[in-house]
């Protein structure tokens, strides 16, 4: 039964023929950009949701009729053109309906520990945090910033540093996917091995329920190339507070052994007080040596600590301008680069002594912007120290004004999740302004990882050197083929597969 069509959405063409991502490191010429709004943006209703779904199907039909490519874009947060299209781009940010799922609507086999919610694809993580907090709930994890939409963050495998939980895909239980125009049915994907909701919900939305582990895991991290994600079911937690400590400490053998064994109780972390961190991160300036730097530990508390004082607002924004200025000066005056790197660290990073806040208050940066060059490599935990050393050496060798960070993320089930190295993936980041030196440091590091046969994957939304060959080296041919097969099963015609391809999927051999 097709969904009700008594109402559709408001679709407006912006007139834009170019699109630039949030971090401004690339610009994409395209045919047109649509903004799409729910017809009643003030009240989340099933008819309103279904009207928007039908409107999105109409846009797919338009793309097929005119033979252009199509993509839904969220916050545009990625550094790579993963969300870009040279045809039609749909801005989904106004699509932020949210629905509660009652206990009786959960599937009898639902095995999660938290309540379920159904949120529309364009809901931003920032908006979601506010909504959840007002209900005494919280996301299980998120990235460090919160400007992404939930579908965008899911589709690129966005992660935080919750080493014992994982990345955003881990709390998504169902995906409502629009794989083609009306009258093609939309799909409600879940894992057969982990059902979440009763079939009455997809029926209400005019979707065909598909319980299939392979399809679901492939669709989790598919960066818009499986169709348009209309909404997702997420599992949330009761509200919790995070106490954050950031201190300088020695990166000695004891610390690295604790990291490799995930045995944080064996060392004294800043502010630990006998607690095991919910999130853990290293951050240092290689120009000051790689034997010490900041260690960041976040400790979860289920009741509000007293006192509880979040960090002052606006700090990162102040650093944003400095990043741009440093990028310019760096390429002109390479000799002073290490000093600029110190300045960068001082501007952006200070000691934190037990700053406290809810999840939403802790990960609240929506505004960081600037011509930054951010690269993140996922590597097995037992090679993490080696990769950190290589990265630091290359930053120093190239005089790049870059900082190194390392976060730990529990391995994800997504077929092309870059945090796939079990049991825990170490994510090593080389971040700095978008200067030639930073890019050179990143390139040398990627080359060294290849030369030393260190298994590695790349964050889909950050700068990388993936191509058709290296993608298959990183994930394995069987895994890549499994993802392509799943895409073919969902996008059943060559025309649809072409419409939802883009330059990146073409370059990686993922378009058919």
């Amino acid at each position: 039964m097709p969904p009700p069509t008594t109402t559709l959405a408001l679709v407006e063409e912006t007139g834009a023929t170019r699109w630039r991502n949030w971090h401004e490191n690339f610009e994409q010429p395209l045919t047109k950009v649509y903004n799409i709004w729910n017809l009643d943006p003030n009240h989340s209703t099933v008819p309103g949701y279904n009207g928007t779904t039908r409107a999105l199907q109409n846009i797919i039909q338009e793309a097929l009729d005119s033979g252009v490519k199509l993509r839904a874009v969220g916050g545009g947060w990625s550094f790579t053109p993963v969300a870009a299209s040279n045809g039609i781009l749909i801005n989904t940010r106004p699509l932020n309906y949210r629905f509660r799922i009652e206990t009786h609507q959960q599937h009898p086999n639902y095995s999660g520990s938290g309540p379920l919610l159904f949120v529309q694809a364009g809901t931003s993580v920032a908006d979601l945090n506010m909504y959840l907090e007002s209900r005494g709930l919280a996301l299980k994890t998120s990235g460090a910033s919160n400007g992404q939409t939930i579908a965008g963050a899911l589709s690129t495998g966005t992660h935080g540093s919750a080493w014992d939980f994982g990345a955003i895909p881990e709390f998504v239980h169902s995906i409502h996917l629009i794989p083609g125009p009306h009258p093609m049915k939309t799909l409600w994907l879940e894992r057969a091995s982990a059902r979440a909701v009763q079939d009455s919900i997809p029926q209400m939305l005019g979707a065909e329920a598909v319980a299939d582990d392979e399809l679901f895991n492939a669709a989790l991290v598919s960066f818009g190339s499986f169709g348009i994600i209309a909404g997702v079911v997420i599992e949330v937690d009761s509200i919790y507070w995070l106490e954050t400590w950031r201190k300088r400490m020695s990166y000695d053998d004891a610390l690295w052994t604790a990291i490799e064994n995930r045995d944080f109780g064996s060392i004294t972390l800043p502010g630990a007080n006998g607690r095991i961190p919910y999130a853990f991160q290293l951050l240092f300036n290689p120009h000051e040596g790689k034997d010490q730097g900041y260690t960041i530990g976040m400790y979860r508390e289920d009741s509000q600590p007293s006192p509880c004082q979040p960090t002052a607002p606006g700090k990162i924004v102040a650093g944003d301008g400095a990043l741009e200025a440093i990028a310019l000066f760096t390429d002109l005056f390479g000799g002073v680069t290490p000093d600029l790197s110190k300045l960068l660290l001082k501007i952006g990073v200070k000691d934190i002594d037990g700053a406290c806040g809810t999840h939403g208050q802790t990960f609240r940066d929506t505004t960081t912007r600037g011509k930054a060059a951010s690269s993140a490599m996922g590597v097995p935990l037992d090679r993490a120290r080696e990769v950190v050393d290589i990265s630091a050496d290359n930053v120093v060798a190239t005089n790049a004004p870059a900082l190194i960070a390392m976060r730990l993320v529990k391995a994800s089930q997504g077929t092309l999740s870059f945090t796939r190295h079990a049991p825990v993936t170490a994510v090593v980041e080389i971040d700095g302004p978008a200067s030639n030196r930073v890019r050179q440091a990143q390139r040398l590091t990627w080359q060294a990882l290849n030369d030393r046969n260190i298994p590695h994957t790349f964050h889909w939304g950050k700068i990388n050197n993936l191509d058709r060959t290296s993608l298959r080296q990183a994930y394995g041919t069987a895994v890549v083929d499994k993802w392509i097969d799943a895409r073919r099963a969902i996008l059943t015609t060559p025309e649809l597969r072409d419409a939802f391809a883009n330059d990146l999927t073409d370059a990686l051999g993922l378009s058919d």
Binding site: P41, N42, V46, E324, L328, K350
Partner: protein, 144 residues
């Protein structure tokens, strides 16, 4: 943190002041060179020419420091408010001796960066307004 950001915002004004000091100290150097022709005439002998160039550079540093010291009441308020005058005069004098051409180039780079930054800020503000107009809908129930 905010102080650092403020210094970056004031960079064009600081550089403009250094350009003014550079022009004044260059004029002073020209006057001295006019009074002492040995400094003004290029030497055929390589070592003599090296000594002449070194002397002119030393003269430029001294001129920069003198000009800075003489104008410190005006200059200090813009460049280094509240700093110890001796070291500040020395530092700014050395900067001014770099020559006005060099500082003109730097000023062009900095102002273009600032303009870019301002354009970006305006764009961010526009986008923030657009995002801000997206209402937060009431929670719905999944019922037909």
């Amino acid at each position: 943190m905010q102080g650092t950001a403020t210094n970056f915002q004031n960079l064009p004004e600081v550089i403009t002041m250094i350009i003014a000091l550079s022009v004044a100290s260059e004029r002073l150097v020209e006057i001295v060179k006019g009074m002492w022709p040995w400094l003004d005439q290029e030497k055929a002998n390589q070592s003599s020419e090296a000594r002449r160039k070194a002397a002119v550079q030393a003269l430029a540093v001294v001129a920069g420091i003198i000009v800075t010291a003489l104008t410190w009441n005006l200059v200090g308020a813009v460049i280094a408010p509240g700093k110890t005058p001796f070291w500040s005069v020395l530092a700014v004098g050395l900067l001014a001796s770099g020559g006005s051409g060099f500082w003109h180039t730097i000023l062009g780079l900095v102002t273009s960066t600032r303009d870019l930054r301002r354009a970006t800020v305006r764009e961010v503000e526009r986008e923030a307004q657009a995002i801000g107009t997206i209402p937060r809908p009431t929670e719905g129930v999944l019922a037909p």
